[in-house]
């Protein structure tokens, strides 16, 4: 389990380093995810080295967002000043994105299936 955590942190470290060094718009952890995927596909890293650690972190991923969410309490005043455009924009747009993305993929999947 520990070696899995070491690997995950190392990949995050390299990702953060690249993000800072080249001033990339992508956060280091997302770059780390891409690098780890590449390493797994190329066979440089074996899945069993980190499966246990990865499964544990993914199982509790939702919880890691809780402190950031509690931070919303600092901005209640800011939000309440223009609450209607802020809340309506955020809520409606979230449903719009799910519908547009979901329908686009559904439509293209059907196109590809009918080709096959």
């Amino acid at each position: 389990m520990l070696q899995g955590f070491v690997l995950l942190l190392l990949f995050q470290f390299v990702g953060e380093g690249l993000s800072a060094w080249f001033d990339l718009p992508m956060p280091g952890n997302v770059i780390g995810m891409a690098l780890l995927l590449l390493a797994l596909i190329c066979g440089w890293v074996k899945l069993e080295w980190l499966q246990e650690a990865a499964d544990l972190l993914l199982r509790y991923m939702a919880m890691f967002f809780v402190p950031a969410g509690v931070g919303v309490m600092l901005y209640f005043d800011l939000i309440s000043r223009e609450w209607l455009p802020i809340i309506a924009g955020t809520v409606i747009s979230t449903f719009v994105v799910m519908a547009v993305t979901g329908w686009t993929m559904k439509y293209l999947d059907q196109q590809e299936e009918s080709k096959e």
């Binding site: 780890l36 899945l47 919880m63 509690v70 455009p85 409606i92 547009v100 329908w103 686009t104 590809e112």
Partner: protein, 230 residues
Amino acid sequence: MNELLSSPLFGITLTLIAFRSAEWLYQRTRFILFNPVAVAIISIILLLKSCDIPYADYNNGGRMILFLLGPAVVALAVPLYQRRDQILKRKLPILLGIVAGAVSSIISAAGIAWLLGGSHKVVLSLVPKSVTTPIAIGITEKIGGIVSLTAALVVLTGCLGAICGPEFCRLIGVRSKAAMGLAVGTAAHGIGTARMLGEDRFSGAIAGLAIGLNGLATTLIVPFLWLFLG
């Protein structure tokens, strides 16, 4: 007592208790409004407010929990690797779905806020609301929005997608695991992905992929749209 409240022990213990209780409540009731992340956040806010404990005290422990998000995002490579064949086979629908989602997110969020009379800075702060926090903050800084407002709205968007994303997808006829994962991941980034991981590992993997790609797409599209609209 004050020293104890500002030690990391307080924030960590409180977060674990709140999340475990919220998870228990959700497992017992299966009621979608009792999403564990949302319930844990609201109960901690209520407790801090009612006991007059500053957020900074809580966050001494909170930031240690948040730290684990970094390696957890890296760990999303594992379900992606396990399902790589299915993903590669559908790379075009996945990419186009994300780009369509990114464009519709920018236009609908900013457009609705503008129509309802939101001030210029507020409208700009809504632009990256479907993008994962670190990328969203970078975008808001660049276009001149309010960074802290964006950070709050990103969490709000994530909770909304996590609470009713899969249910909404079924309602509008999006039923495949891949399309649901992509829709919720594109709209509601990591918090939506965490919910999808609980539903199905493949959906979760696709949602995880969408976090990174939507961040990239939005980063690239925003300056482009500005040329047109500005």
